[in-house]
Amino acid sequence: MTSFLMGSTTASEISAQLTRLRHQVGAPAVGMVLTLVVVSDESRQYDAVRAASEASREHPSRILAVIPREREEATRLDAELRVGEMTTGEVVLLRLYGELTGHADSVLSPLLLPDIPVVVWWPGDAPEIPGKDPVGGFGQRRVTDARSAADPLAAIRRRIDGYSPGDTDLAWTRITPWRSLLAAAFDQPVGKVRDGYVEAEPGHPSAELLAVWLSQTLGADISVRESRGPGLTAVHLRISDGEVVIERHDSRTATLKRPGRPDRHVALARRPTSELLAEELRRLDPDEVYEEAIKGVADRHHR
């Protein structure tokens, strides 16, 4: 790994230095597939950059971490460049001081790679309208995470207000394995679902999304109940001759129960952030099903 610290610098100096570093380690300048912008405060920065590096391990990317620092200090840009560490691409940590904290886009735009997609990720607090945010505007895809908000439920209920196509939330990504398993269970005729509930630890935004998605697709009333967790623990769906149940208590293996069928065990592990992010990076088109789900979450709350 080669890393390089630059105090009080500019975007063009960073760009030149990146080229120099790449030549030093002999890595090719081309072949990157993505620019991933991570907007994070200092406390979340380490984990976020790590997850981003892991998510892009197989696919060389430029990871730009924007870290706003003291607004009161003199205006300054500090950069930390890493090439060939953990990731096949490049990592640049950009620390913004003073007035510059309000102009991160001016630092980023010369550093975005040409011709390839940009994804913006807020591992912590996200702007109210990600698509209108100066940094968010660069991204084809804008990834937020309701779980890390101060009030996760409030955050997911407000998502639709600031939604623009290309937005997505990791609270939604977290339930893909659940949705996938449920869909597989419904690949054989199940019959009409009357009602049901999703069980999760209190204040879990993903449970809210899953319940709404199930209500919308099954046309049945699916509520959320609290359990001791961790995370999502069960989905109960009442059908004419009993219940379809998926239960998960150890956050690794789930049991699928259906009336008249033997119980079956299925791997259903909670996934690390890097895997969630990798799922987000895979498809860069707007997620319309997510849009409907957050709309439903908002409606349900206002009802």
Binding site: G31, V33, L34, S56, E58, H59, P60, T173, T176, P177, R179, S180, L181, L182, A183, A184, A185, F186, D187, Q188, P189, L214, T217, L218, G219, R252, T253, L256, R258, R261, P262, R264, H265, V266, A267, L268, A269, A278, E279, L281, R282, R283, D285, D287, E288, V289
Partner: protein, 587 residues
């Protein structure tokens, strides 16, 4: 490419020329037609050449009937999945998961099962693509208990799986593992298999859906299929399916290929038969088709005006190893050229299909295979060899005749090269050189389209001394991708032009990695996605190309020329190229 859920025309009962035995066993050969089911747009592909003077509308009806039949045959998975309220075509996050089913693996002790199939099943599970209750039944002539099979599977997964090992995934797969000991001619063993499957249906909820995978030497196919027929395992109950996967080789000559087809057809519906060629997975085929037919850049030069010749290579660094019993008497030409290399030739040489449905593709491939001509003098236009002991990648290795299970006087070739031509307007006069071998210097599969030199070079001779031919290389393995080779000026004051590469790799350009061929294949089988190839007719056409060569070699009766393990092949293959003023690309 018919990759979506839409019902596609099925191989196996497409148009067949008169005299094709599959005609007589075609269960849909009755009159009348059924409209395409489900209102799905079915690509109407008119099968003109095959039916003697038959009106086009008949062919169209034929096609629709096939489509309808496809729906009927796969109703348990695709149709129900479409009726599933939780599935939304816009919801691209949800993967296609196979319905509940059992995979029965014959020849589970084999190398292929350990290296590829078992790990691929685990990888599918790890990616969440196996249905709850999925069960795997191993069948082999071993005195194993269920836990021995589990141990073997565990070891195979640990060693060869692509994705990291996770205890919870393993637990899920392990619960569905079963083993039935017995030999293929043992009626009792197959009765036990049928019983075991019935029990699995009850305990695991697999609903009578079985896929049979015959990863065995081809001589066992007939007896396995006979046994499956005898025990009623080839006949699904209402609403369930039975599918069979046949690995190449599909016979060892035209006659045996027809015989094999007759046996398979008598037991399974044509759309339930998955003939597969793992070296040339669906992903690769689709990649080649996209490269050729989704771009404007290549098509204008893809013909005899610009192409000098084409080299199709499949080189292996391994020896025959555990496949000795099968390999002896078969040889490289039957093992590789007949299926992989001729399929590649067809994909690279064919005209553009009218649609990307399997039947339109097949028709174009058949046309180009029909146009293949053999060299006039087979002794000059072919070459064969046998590896002798030597050093391969820094390891001393045995020669072919010293391998276990190979008779010391074996005349089986482990290297084969042929020079073919395609007699049509696009390719007349452009040789296609096909070569394959074991124990060569490097493992590599590629198609190199080598272009003619520029007709005039406005440089002095010394400037372009080391400039080669432009080439477009489709790399299939390892590191699937495309390389374009062209001349570039060497930096500096002197005017010198030298070859450089422009490289593209699938593994680097996308955020999604290509699925492993076997994963894709197994998933296609379990889901019931129509296979792309090869169709029986293509198999037969390939044998029509290979049979004269094999006969010539057999009549010749001499020992194949030896070549050092770890080298680039026998000298006669190089001489074959040299006679044409060309040379093989370095391995």
């Amino acid at each position: 490419m018919n990759d979506s859920k839409g019902p596609g025309p099925q191989p196996g009962n497409g148009p067949t020329p008169s005299g094709d035995p599959s005609n007589s066993t075609d269960p849909t050969g009755s009159a009348g037609s059924t409209p395409p089911a489900g209102g799905e747009p079915v690509a109407h592909e008119f099968d003109v050449p095959a039916r003697d003077g038959g009106p086009e509308s008949l062919a169209a009806q034929d096609e629709s009937r096939t489509a309808a039949q496809a729906v009927a045959g796969t109703a348990t998975t695709i149709e129900v999945a479409e009726a599933n309220p939780l599935r939304d075509p816009r919801d691209k996050r949800l993967p296609r998961v196979a319905g509940p089913c059992v995979l029965v693996l014959f020849g589970v002790t084999g190398d292929l099962a350990k290296r590829k199939l078992l790990p691929a099943i685990y990888d599918l599970g790890n990616r969440g693509l196996l249905p709850p209750g999925f069960s795997l039944v191993g069948f082999a002539r071993r005195d194993w208990a269920a836990q021995d099979f589990a141990q073997i599977t565990h070891d195979a997964v640990k060693e060869h799986a692509r994705t990291p090992f996770r205890e919870e995934v393993w637990k899920q797969i392990c619960e569905g593992l079963h083993f039935v000991p017995g030999s293929f001619d043992d009626d009792g063993a197959f009765d036990a298999l049928a019983m075991a499957l019935k029990e699995i249906d009850e305990t695991r909820g697999t609903g009578g859906n079985y896929a049979f995978y015959t990863s065995t030497p081809p001589k066992y196919f007939p007896v396995i299929i006979e046994q499956l027929k005898r025990t009623g395992l080839t006949r699904p109950p209402e609403g369930a399916w039975r599918r069979v996967v046949i690995e190449k080789p599909f016979g060892h000559d035209l006659k045996s290929a027809r015989e094999l087809n007759r046996i398979v057809d008598s037991a399974f519906k044509p759309d339930s038969v998955f003939r597969i060629d793992h070296y040339l997975g669906k992903e690769t085929v689709q990649n080649i088709l996209a490269l050729r037919f989704a771009n404007t850049l290549f098509e204008p030069i893809w013909n005899r005006r610009y192409v000098d010749h084409v080299q199709i290579t499949m080189a292996e660094d391994i020896g025959v190893g555990g496949r000795a019993g099968y390999y002896d008497g078969i040889g490289a030409a039957r093992d590789v050229i007949q299926n992989h290399l001729l399929q590649l030739l067809a994909l690279v040489g064919m005209e553009d299909p009218t649609a990307f449905g399997p039947s339109a593709l097949r028709r174009e491939k058949e046309k180009v295979l029909e146009a293949v001509t053999l060299p006039e003098d087979l002794s000059l236009g072919t070459a064969r060899g046998q590896y002798v002991s030597g050093w391969q990648g820094g390891v001393p290795v045995r020669g072919f005749l010293e391998e276990d299970g190979i008779p010391p006087d074996s005349r089986t070739e482990t290297y084969a090269a042929v020079r073919l031509e395609i007699a049509n307007r696009r390719w007349a006069g452009v040789p296609f050189y096909l070569r394959t071998g074991k124990r060569l210097g490097r493992r590599m599969t590629e198609v190199a389209v080598v272009f003619q030199r520029a007709p005039h070079l406005p440089f002095s001779k010394t400037d372009t001394e080391i400039l080669g031919h432009n080439a477009l290389v489709i790399r299939i393995q390892p590191d699937e991708g495309v390389t374009v080779r062209f001349g570039s000026k060497v930096p500096g004051t002197a005017m010198e032009v030298r070859d450089v590469n422009m490289d593209f790799a699938y593994g680097e350009a996308f955020l999604e990695s290509s699925p492993e061929a076997y994963e894709r294949l197994l998933l296609d089988v379990l889901i019931g996605d129509p296979p792309l190839f090869p169709h029986q007719r293509e198999v037969e056409l390939s044998w029509m190309i290979m049979d004269p060569i094999e006969e010539h070699w057999a009549a010749d009766g001499s020992q194949p020329e030896g070549y050092d393990a770890g080298s680039g092949g026998p000298a006669s293959a190089d001489e074959m190229m040299a006679r044409d003023g060309r040379a093989w690309r370095r391995l």
